[in-house]
Structure formats: structure tokens, C-alpha cells
């Protein structure tokens, strides 16, 4: 909630004294004296495994680097950007922050995140080895890495096998295309008192990545440069397909603010949403219904283009020694050890695929948890989620989201709704490019 309120007003003087030094200082080569850095993470604001695992990693890091002390600061994921921004305004200088991808361009342009190539060129190349290349791409703006991909997940199709069986469907052979989703959804709607299909793309819970995944799987894209294209042909067709699902009854008209609970309560047959909730669903389904996980559906035989939800690490520190400390922490948090912990305990994807087959790291866990497979398979086709640029980027994204929602759930012509919103939103985009 804070995200907006933070900007509410301010004391110019303080902000101005916090003006960054004019000259870029070189990052220190090493740490020779004790130093304290701050690490802002939304995983720290989530009780249980998320917090415990992240704290565990921080403690491991401090044990390995006794000169560096990490001050962990947690804030919910929808408020963390505002938290970071408020601290910059107040002169508190955050050093390292975990931010979501939608804020990528803003972090690079406005928050003053460091380009890692400028800061640690060779070290970055060495560290990036073994990381999923398309994952790394996600943190780039104009060819430079401002965000180092960190926690990650893709949309997968959660399936309630009991509902499938009740509707006379085979849960071991889940729908692979949208046409099959429609068929299965209608079958569930007609033969059971449960709901067919819901995409976690709309409503108060952030699902833009699900929406973008569907659009891009149809060959569409939401913007090209600074020109909005979400109402153009392939992108709008994808939305029209969802509208058709809705009109057919395959689409579940449930409260979008509680879609996860509707699924967990065993009332929904198919749910397309982030794989990050997989562990929670496994727990919720235990003893209640049988859970299956499938890859996201495709448009005919076009390959799907799953994009990601999740976060990258941004280095915000201006002090050379703190930059070094923050960089070391960044490397540690994206190491084989860290991803083993993050994947097995929190449930995000490992961005280092070599650890999946390594018995020293993730192999035993992957063998025991086959449900991660569709998700791992999708990683190879990972397509960058589009963040928007300019001071109004959040508003543009909202207008697009609202229009898509109205196109699917309203009564007007979906193409017309999208077109209207695109014209309105284009006015808020930066003029260039």
C-alpha cells in the first residue's frame, strides 16, 4: 500500500543533500575493515520458510565473510519499492534490494541502481556462468544488467485431479492447448458443481506476468519500444480467446481476490498461476484432493512463451566498500548453495540448472518432487516480462490490466475495449522511441 503513499510529499532539502557524488567511484577490490550493509527483501516479510530460508542464507554469508554485517529489512512485495524509495529520500541509502521485475526500468533510471557491467565486469561474467541466460536477460535495460535475476517462477497449470475425474476427464492427460482447456472447463462446468478454469491474471493480486505469458504465447507483445501494442492483433486475439472461454462457461467467475483460496478449497478444476505457490497448494491439498501440475497451455501448436514472476537483486550502494560487500552478498544469494536452499525450501526455480542433476545440490530433492518438472521445462522457453518505462509506468500497466479484465469479464467487444485503453494509456508513455 505504501508504494504510492511514499511519494506523498517531501522535504526537498534533505533529498538534495542526499544527492549522489558526482563522480563514479570504483568498487573496492576487497573488504579490509568491518562494514555493515542493508538488504531489503520481501521474502523477509513473509513468516515461515521464506523468512527462515532467507535469514539462513544471510547468516551463512556472514559466517563466511566475518567482516561484513548484513542488516536485513523486510517489507511486503507490493510495498518494498516504496520502502526503498522512502529510505533513499530520507538519506538512509539502501545497499542491496530485492525488487520485482515490473519496477526494473524505474530502478535503473530513477533509483540509481548500478549497472553490474560497469561495476564488476569480469566478475559478473564469471559469476553468470551456469545461470540460465534468458533469466539473466530479464534484468537488462539497454544491454546492461541492473537487476541480477534472483527468485523466480513461471506460470503453471494447477489441476484438481478429483474434479477432473468427477467430470469424466483424465487428470493424467491434462489439456495442452487452449481449445482443450475450453473443452475440459465446459465439461467441469456442466457435470460438476465446481468451476472449470481460472487464470490468475486479473484482479487485485498481481498477475500481469500470467496475462503477458498468454499474450506472448500467441505471438503478441504488450509494447514495442515505447509504443503500446496490447490491443494489436495477436495480443488482442489472446484476450478474445479468454473472453470466449468466459462466454462458454469454462471460465470461473470467482472472486479474483481469493482465487488461490478457491482452488485450495477444492472448488476449481484448473488454475493457471505462479509456480511459487506450489508448496502451499501441496500442503493445502494434502488429504483433501489430488493435485497435479501441468505446463501452461498453448495456442494450437505454437510454442508457449512463459514469462516470469519474481525478483532481481539491485545494487543501490554508492560507497565503494559497501558496493563490494553488497556485490559479494549478491553473488552468494545467487550461488549453487543459495539456489539449492531457495528451490527446496521456498519453492522458486533454480536459476542454475546444473545443480538440478548434481547430487551434491538439488538432485535428491528434484527426484523426490517430480512436480517441479513442468516448471523446469518451461525455463528453457522463458520470455522476458515487459516492464514499462517513464514516470507513469505503473499507471500504464494498470490501465492495460483493467482493460484486459473488462475485455474478458465485461459485455463489450473485447477488441474495442482494448483499443480504447491503448489510446488512453499511450498518452502516458514517454514520447521518445
Amino acid at each position: 500500500m505504501l508504494r504510492r503513499t511514499f511519494l506523498a510529499t517531501g522535504v526537498a532539502a534533505v533529498a538534495l543533500t542526499a544527492l549522489a557524488p558526482a563522480l563514479r567511484a570504483e568498487m573496492a577490490a576487497g573488504i579490509t575493515a568491518p562494514v555493515t550493509i542493508s538488504f531489503y527483501s520481501y521474502n523477509l516479510a513473509s513468516a515461515g520458510l521464506n523468512n527462515d530460508t532467507t535469514m539462513g542464507l544471510i547468516n551463512d554469508f556472514m559466517a563466511e565473510n566475518p567482516l561484513i554485517k548484513v542488516e536485513p529489512i523486510g517489507a511486503p512485495s507490493n510495498e518494498i519499492l516504496s520502502r526503498v524509495q522512502a529510505d533513499i529520500v530520507a538519506g538512509q541509502e539502501p545497499d542491496l534490494a530485492q525488487l520485482v521485475f515490473r519496477d526494473l526500468i524505474y530502478a535503473a533510471d530513477d533509483l540509481g541502481a548500478e549497472a553490474l557491467e560497469d561495476l564488476a565486469g569480469d566478475e559478473l561474467a564469471a559469476h553468470a556462468e551456469g545461470m540460465v541466460p534468458s533469466g539473466l536477460d530479464l534484468g537488462r535495460v539497454d544491454g546492461k544488467t541492473y537487476g541480477l535475476a534472483y527468485t523466480f517462477s513461471t506460470p503453471v497449470m494447477f489441476i484438481n485431479a478429483d474434479i477432473f475425474r468427477e467430470a469424466g476427464l483424465d487428470p493424467k492427460n491434462p489439456p495442452k492447448t487452449w481449445a482443450e482447456v475450453k473443452e475440459a472447463g465446459m465439461a467441469i462446468q456442466q457435470k460438476t458443481d465446481k468451476y472449470g478454469f481460472f487464470p490468475g491474471a486479473f484482479g487485485p493480486i498481481d498477475g500481469t506476468f500470467v496475462y503477458q505469458s498468454i499474450v506472448m504465447s500467441n505471438g503478441g507483445i504488450v509494447r514495442e519500444g515505447n509504443t503500446l501494442t496490447f490491443a494489436d492483433q495477436p495480443a488482442a486475439d489472446a484476450v478474445a480467446m479468454l473472453r470466449d472461454l468466459r462466454d462458454s462457461g469454462a471460465y470461473a467467475e470467482i472472486d479474483p481476490a481469493s482465487h488461490m483460496d478457491t482452488f485450495a478449497a477444492g472448488k476449481l478444476g484448473m488454475f493457471l498461476f505462479t509456480s511459487a505457490v506450489q508448496n502451499r497448494f501441496i500442503k493445502a491439498a494434502d488429504g483433501k484432493f489430488e493435485l497435479e501440475v501441468a505446463a501452461m497451455p498453448s495456442f494450437g501448436d505454437k510454442p508457449t512463451a512463459p514469462t516470469n514472476s519474481g525478483s532481481a537483486l539491485f545494487l543501490l550502494s554508492k560507497d565503494p566498500v559497501k558496493q563490494r560487500a553488497a556485490w559479494e552478498l549478491m553473488k552468494f544469494l545467487t550461488s549453487k548453495h543459495a539456489y539449492t536452499q531457495i528451490t527446496s525450501k521456498i519453492g522458486y526455480l533454480p536459476l542454475r540448472l546444473d545443480i538440478v542433476d548434481d547430487p551434491q545440490y538439488l538432485k535428491p530433492w528434484v527426484d523426490a518432487h517430480p512436480m517441479i518438472q513442468p516448471n523446469l521445462e518451461q525455463l528453457t522457453r522463458l520470455t522476458p516480462n515487459m516492464a514499462f518505462a517513464g514516470p507513469n509506468y505503473r499507471q500504464v500497466e494498470n490501465m492495460m490490466k483493467d482493460a484486459a479484465t473488462e475485455a474478458v469479464l465485461g459485455d463489450e467487444d473485447p477488441y474495442e475495449v482494448l483499443r480504447r485503453a491503448q489510446v488512453q494509456a499511450q498518452a502516458l508513455m514517454p514520447a521518445d522511441g
Binding site: R4, L7, A8, T9, A15, Q85, P204, I254, S258, T405
Partner: protein, 309 residues
């Protein structure tokens, strides 16, 4: 009645300090200091910011834009829907925040002590539930698929209700949640006021042969009128704002803007864009609008207060 107290109260300090009275200002100092430093100073800074375009970050500099922020916000097409919704929020809240609590305070007055206290204590309970918990609880209870309320509705043979998805119902659902939380607060205030009514008046009226309704109408209601007015005023001034937590936690203003009120709209458009100028503008506009309304009420309350002499 301030006037009635003043002459006698003034005399003593006036002897010591002939012209400027220091004592009242000393008594006011703590309050004024806090309000000045933590409210009026930032408000003034906001006022200045509302004429600039800036995200407050040291990487950018404030750009003066004159009245553009005000013009832009006022030109928003959604403003009319949100303004109308705001009125509905207030209208919908009044029965929950004033009428029902008033009835409870008066009805329970004549009940025997123990039961009366029990009722009042229980009605107050929603007040102690943290707002965010109230939001998720009601979202759950009213859910169409697994919520208790719809389960009961279906059990009675009625069709289930889409409390949050139906644009015609969603706003009233939000009003209900806001009001549910407020009932206890209003009941407490009104019961406190009702309790301070001198029983002598009531006894005298009863001796004169007045019945319950007459006592209520001619004695209780007039004596309660300052508190009633206070509650009406608070509902008008803050009702829509109190709904903010629930709109934000449950519907995000949807479906299709149906639950968006002026506070949520300003928040969404003004604060979502990371533009300090816009949000400052929204804040100033909100403050001025409701400030004028408040002054109106203050004038009105003086009249009512005079009336009970």
C-alpha cells in the same frame, strides 16, 4: 455556554497577567506543537509540492508545473463515478454508524444491568479486530464458493450472491464491512453520552406522565444531539476514508471501478504513479474539500449545542 464559564474563570489570571493571557496558551502548547510539527508542516510542504512534478528522488529535480497537477486530476473521467460512489458510501454508512447504534444505546438503557452490559460489550467486539483481519475475514465469509454466509443463503434455498464480483452489490458489501467495524465505536460513544443524562430529568418526565417514546423524543434525543451530530459529521468526513483499507485489501476498487471512492481513486491515480506532485495535489484537494465540509458542520454544531441550553 463557554461564555457562561468564562467570566468567572478569567478573573484570577487576569489579575496576574493583565493583557496577553499566557496560561491558555501554555495549556494548548503540547497539542499545538505536535499538530504543527507532525501535521501542518508536512501539509504546507505538500502544498508547495503540488505545483511541481517530481518523484522526490535525488536523481531527479523538481519541475514547476503551475496548476497542471490540479487540472489533470480534475479532468480524470473516473472522477465522477468515484465522487458519486463516495456519496453512496456515506449514505450507506449512516444507518450503520448512527441509526443502529443510537437504537442500541436507547433500547439497552431500559434493560437490566447485566444483560445490557453484555450486549454492549459484544457489539463492541468488531472494533477490536484489526482492520486488515476484518477485511480478510469478511472476504472469506462472503465468498461465493466456500463462505459461510453464502452457505447459509444456499441452505435456505436462495441463489448464492456474488458479493464482490457483482458491480451492483460490491459497493454495499464494502459499506457493510466498514459499518460492521464502526457499530461498536458509535454504540460506545452514544451509550457514554446516554449514560451522562441526568436521571432526574427522566424521572421528572415520567412523573409528568410521559411515555417511553415521549421521553426518548423530548429528552434523550435533544440531549444526545451533540453526540449524534458528531457521529454524523465523522461519518460524512471520514466514512469514505475508513473504507479505504477494505477497498484496498479486498476489491482494489473493482469490479470495473464499482467500489472505487474518491480516496481510493486519488490514491490509485495520484500515488500509484510515483509522482509526489500528483499525490500532494490529491492530498491538498481532499483536505480542502473535506475541510470546507467540516467548517460547515462546526457551524452547525454550535447551533445544536446552543439549542440544548
Amino acid at each position: 455556554m463557554t461564555d457562561a464559564v468564562a467570566p468567572s474563570a478569567i478573573r484570577a489570571p487576569a489579575r496576574l497577567l493583565p493583557r496577553v493571557q499566557v496560561a491558555p496558551w501554555l495549556y494548548l502548547l503540547p497539542t499545538l506543537a505536535v499538530l504543527f510539527v507532525w501535521i501542518y508542516l508536512p501539509l504546507f510542504q505538500s502544498f508547495q509540492l503540488s505545483f511541481t512534478q517530481w518523484n522526490m528522488l535525488p536523481t531527479k529535480t523538481p519541475k514547476p508545473v503551475g496548476w497542471a497537477n490540479y487540472r489533470n486530476l480534475l479532468a480524470l473521467p473516473e472522477l465522477r463515478q468515484a465522487a458519486l460512489n463516495t456519496v453512496w458510501y456515506v449514505v450507506g454508512l449512516l444507518p450503520l454508524s448512527v441509526v443502529i447504534p443510537l437504537a442500541v444505546a436507547i433500547l439497552t438503557q431500559d434493560l437490566t444491568g447485566r444483560l445490557r452490559n453484555l450486549y454492549r460489550a459484544l457489539i463492541f467486539i468488531p472494533m477490536i479486530v484489526p482492520p486488515i483481519v476484518a477485511a480478510v475475514l469478511w472476504r472469506w465469509l462472503l465468498n461465493e464458493d466456500y463462505g459461510l454466509v453464502n452457505h447459509i443463503i444456499a441452505g435456505l434455498g436462495f441463489p448464492t450472491v456474488k458479493f464482490f464480483q457483482n458491480p451492483d452489490i460490491a459497493l454495499w458489501t464494502m459499506v457493510w464491512i466498514t459499518g460492521w467495524k464502526l457499530m461498536g465505536f458509535s454504540t460506545l460513544l452514544l451509550s457514554a453520552a446516554n449514560g451522562t443524562i441526568d436521571p432526574g430529568y427522566l424521572e421528572a418526565a415520567r412523573m409528568d406522565g410521559a411515555n417511553r417514546w415521549q421521553i426518548t423524543r423530548d429528552i434523550r434525543l435533544p440531549l444526545l444531539s451533540p453526540t449524534i451530530l458528531l457521529l454524523v459529521m465523522m461519518t460524512v468526513l471520514f466514512g469514505a476514508q475508513w473504507s479505504f483499507v477494505y477497498i484496498n485489501a479486498i476489491t482494489d476498487g473493482g469490479p470495473m471501478g464499482a467500489t472505487t471512492n474518491i480516496f481510493f481513486l486519488m490514491w490509485k491515480y495520484g500515488f500509484q504513479t510515483f509522482s509526489a506532485g500528483w499525490s500532494a495535489t490529491a492530498g491538498i484537494m481532499t483536505f480542502v474539500t473535506f475541510g470546507l465540509l467540516a467548517l460547515l458542520f462546526l457551524g452547525l454544531s454550535r447551533k445544536v449545542a446552543f439549542h440544548d441550553n
